[in-house]
């Protein structure tokens, strides 16, 4: 057996991809109402460009950028602005949001197409991407055009498309690669062009053989692009782990992928880039995996940005009686929801509803027995055990001295902990108490 590319350590959680992996992407109903937070991305929030009572069309900018690291937001339906106020979002914060009631017509503005998109200049591409409001769709939602504009002293030689989708349950990227492989490859080529890079890679975990096959046939004839089957291991899709697996390069501590000459983009982002550059379509919808034993009919749905989770869940048959937890994103790094009246945003890769049988409480945890399991799995080579102990005792500076800020909260340590300690909670607490 040939050795597949991967990183050191990591865990093998139950993947449960079978719930939704076979479900083709279906179009969600046109929502009657959307709630569009002005901040769905990392960076400065967008500034509302509409007033209550304004009529808007699909694709119209309703919030504009306020800085370099920022992203505009668009209306994903046509209708009337009915409110601009703080609403709950899936990360637990109240964020200023623009509420639009649909007029049912779904009228769009005219989009500027570029059939000859490969002749556009790098700057033209970046401007289109910025204006389309494209951000990283794997979950972190970092503005894509910023990632494509590295400082001059950084030489980028490689673009990697992240199709690992290592979060259990989620199948959105999987379905995109199976159903739209050609578009993903075109998106990659546009990204490579915008960076002036000759080398492209697509990394996919081996539990998606149909996606690997589809992508491999889509790249036939592309000499500079390679598909990498990756070992099935969490967190294979973390940027640093993916770069290590594909290129063997280690992003330095506190550094970014560009420090080793790499830009990583998610599969969904590549597709959005293609649609924006080729058809002039802003980021108005995304694939959301609705899954878990707590949902009646797991689906992969193309959902308009701003659609309420409750609306999406209803279209999937609603929650079962034993549903205990609703998560935005995957089970390892997603956010638990206290209300279902939060909108699907650009970074919402999944809505996961856990039933009682899938949920393990960490209310009852005990002292660390120093078994070292967390040290054996930490992809960053940290000592999560000591971090959790320092944080528990309030020794936050000691935690910092033990590389607290290298942790990206993948949750592998908490997953394996036999004492069921809430490791990520301890680590976040410590991070909130000291400066990096």
């Amino acid at each position: 057996m040939s050795k597949t590319a991967t990183f050191e350590r990591g865990i093998h959680p139950k993947y449960r991809k079978e719930l939704a992996a076979g479900k083709s992407i279906t179009q969600a109903n046109l929502p009657q109402r959307i709630v569009v937070p002005v901040s769905q991305h990392i960076g400065a929030p967008a500034k509302p460009e509409v007033n209550i009572g304004d009529e808007v069309k699909r694709g119209q900018v309703i919030g504009s950028t306020t800085g370099f690291v920022s992203s505009p937001v668009h209306s994903s339906i046509s209708g009337k602005v009915t409110a601009i106020a703080d609403f709950p979002t899936s990360v637990g914060k109240m964020v200023q949001s623009i509420v639009i009631e649909s007029d049912g017509k779904d009228e769009a503005i005219s989009f500027k197409e570029h059939p000859d998109y490969m002749n556009l200049s790098a700057d033209e591409i970046k401007t289109i991407i910025k204006d389309a409001g494209i951000v990283g769709m794997g979950g972190a939602a970092f503005p894509t055009n910023v990632k494509l504009s590295p400082p001059k002293e950084k030489t980028i030689d490689t673009v990697i498309i992240n199709g690992a989708e290592c979060e259990p349950y989620l199948t959105a990227d999987h379905r995109l690669m199976v159903e739209h492989p050609r578009e993903v490859v075109e998106g990659l080529k546009i990204i490579m062009k915008s960076l002036g890079v000759k080398e492209g890679h697509i990394g996919i975990e081996e539990n998606k053989p149909d996606a690997i096959k589809a992508m491999e046939s889509a790249i036939s004839g592309e000499a500079n692009i390679k598909v990498w089957p990756l070992e099935i291991k969490y967190p294979q899709g973390a940027e640093k782990m993916l770069i290590k697996a594909v290129k063997g390069r280690e992003v330095p501590s506190k550094g970014l992928p560009m420090d080793v000459g790499v830009v990583v983009q998610n599969v969904g982002t590549a597709l959005a880039v293609y649609e924006a550059v080729r058809f002039g379509k802003p980021l108005l919808e995304r694939v959301v995996t609705v899954t878990g034993n707590g949902i009646r009919e797991p689906k992969n749905m193309m959902v308009r940005i701003g659609t309420l989770m409750s609306d999406v869940i209803e279209q999937c048959g609603g929650l079962v009686d034993g549903a205990v937890k609703v998560i935005s994103g995957g089970p390892m790094m997603g956010f638990a929801q206290w209300t279902l009246d939060v909108p699907v945003v650009k970074g919402t890769s999944g809505i996961l509803v856990l039933a009682e049988d899938e949920y393990v409480s960490s209310d009852q945890y005990s002292a660390c027995i120093r078994c070292g399991s967390c040290i054996d799995v930490c992809p960053m080579g940290l000592n999560p055990s000591i971090l959790s102990i320092y944080s528990e005792k309030g020794f936050y500076e000691d935690a910092k001295a033990n590389n607290l800020f290298d942790c990206f909260e993948c949750g592998s340590c908490a997953y394996v902990c036999p004492a069921k300690r809430p490791m990520v909670q301890f680590i976040r607490l410590a991070k909130s108490q000291v400066k990096p």
């Binding site: 050191e8 865990i11 959680p13 139950k14 640093k240 280690e250 992003v251 330095p252 501590s253 506190k254 550094g255 420090d259 080793v260 309420l308 929650l319 549903a323 205990v324 937890k325 609703v326 998560i327 089970p331 790094m333 997603g334 638990a336 929801q337 206290w338 209300t339 279902l340 009246d341 856990l354 899938e358 949920y359 409480s361 005990s366 002292a367 660390c368 027995i369 120093r370 078994c371 070292g372 399991s373 040290i375 054996d376 992809p379 960053m380 080579g381 940290l382 000592n383 000591i386 590389n403 909260e409 908490a414 997953y415 394996v416 902990c417 036999p418 004492a419 990520v424 909670q425 976040r428």
Partner: protein
């Protein structure tokens, strides 16, 4: 819709939202199970009294933990199997014919003084069972060094007393030891099977190795501590243990006798009292091995595994501080600093 969320009483907590199957209790009970072959062999060689001694240790360990915690209105943690394990290990570390109060005193010292007063499982500095045994050895030196002859077939009620192989080796030398067992092959076989004098659970290397294999297979222990511990003992026995000068010693005798196999696989590997980082565990194992051989060859006791592990327990936190696992992205960072 908000009402629906309420009707379902959604749980909100920090990620990750799924957890692995492993629990402290599952680990501890598996370790208990892994000691079953050694326990059975102890009864086989030393008779019903062996079962009584070990049983009494377990009972007193579990009871003292339960009584201590309930009387302080704390949650009793006897279900996690760790008090049971401490009792079991203490029992397997006692001579076969101790009076009834020895197991009780040892277990109370192990559980209450060594573990609970330090804060309970996870906070103890020393291996509880070994402190219990050390306390007994120092307080009752005579009772703790009466060794019965193994008589097999589960029956021996009052066996003859004799010396342990390490005792003979220390006092009378290798030739005498071989003479007692017949020839060298017989000696090795006896040590492997367990037909020799010693603490209840330490004699049968083969039974202990079966249990150790289970723990290694399940990933509850790794090779680092047992291997470095045993290898150090072997090398030092070979280098310094011979009567004809350097590098003439017999490593196998030292590896198979005394409490080395029991100590290296089941006691030195105690999570709480050994280093957590694998590199540190190798240092820990080498330290245990070196101290064991210093005591065996030059010290006042014929056996040194217990004191070696306890002494190295003190160093475990220090080792963990000194040996850092290599963090991701660290190499580049150092290079940049050099520039």
């Amino acid at each position: 819709m908000a009402t629906e969320a309420k009707a379902h009483e959604l749980i909100v907590s920090v990620s990750p939202h799924v957890r692995g199957q492993e629990t402290v209790a599952r680990i501890m009970w598996t370790v208990n199970l892994s000691l079953l072959p050694a326990f059975i062999m102890s009864v086989y060689y030393f008779g019903p009294l062996a079962a009584f001694v070990t049983g009494l240790c377990i009972l007193s360990a579990v009871l003292s933990e339960h009584i201590y915690q309930t009387s302080l209105k704390k949650k009793s943690t006897i279900g996690d199997g760790s008090a049971f394990l401490t009792g079991l290990l203490l029992g397997l570390n006692l001579p076969p014919s101790v009076p009834f109060y020895i197991p009780i005193v040892g277990s109370v010292i192990a559980i209450v003084i060594t573990k609970l007063l330090f804060g309970g499982l996870g906070y103890n500095v020393f291996n509880p069972a070994l402190i219990g045994r050390a306390f007994l050895l120092i307080s009752f030196p005579k009772l703790m060094t009466i060794w019965s002859e193994p008589t097999a077939q589960f029956v021996a009620m009052d066996a003859k007393t004799t010396a342990t192989p390490l005792g003979v080796l220390k006092e009378e030398g290798l030739a005498k030891l071989i003479e007692i067992f017949g020839d060298k092959t017989d000696l090795y076989m006896s040590l492997l099977m367990g037909s020799r004098a010693g603490s209840l659970g330490e004699t049968s290397a083969i039974a202990l190795l079966i249990g150790a294999a289970l723990l290694l297979y399940r990933g509850y222990i790794t090779w680092h501590i047992p291997f470095s511990f045993i290898a150090t003992v072997g090398v030092m026995a070979w280098a310094f243990g011979g009567q004809a000068g350097l590098f003439t010693g017999d490593p196998l005798i030292h590896i198979l006798s005394g409490g080395l196999i029991l100590g290296a696989f089941f006691m030195a590997t105690d999570y709480v009292t050994c280093p957590s980082i694998r590199k540190g565990q190798i240092i820990f194992g080498i330290g245990c091995g070196a101290i064991t051989m210093m005591i065996r060859l030059k010290g006042g006791f014929p056996e040194g595994v217990m004191f070696a592990i306890l002494l190295m327990n003190c160093f475990a936190p220090l080792i963990d501080r000194g040996v850092k696992s290599k963090k991701f992205g660290a190499v580049k960072e150092q290079k940049e600093q050099k520039k």
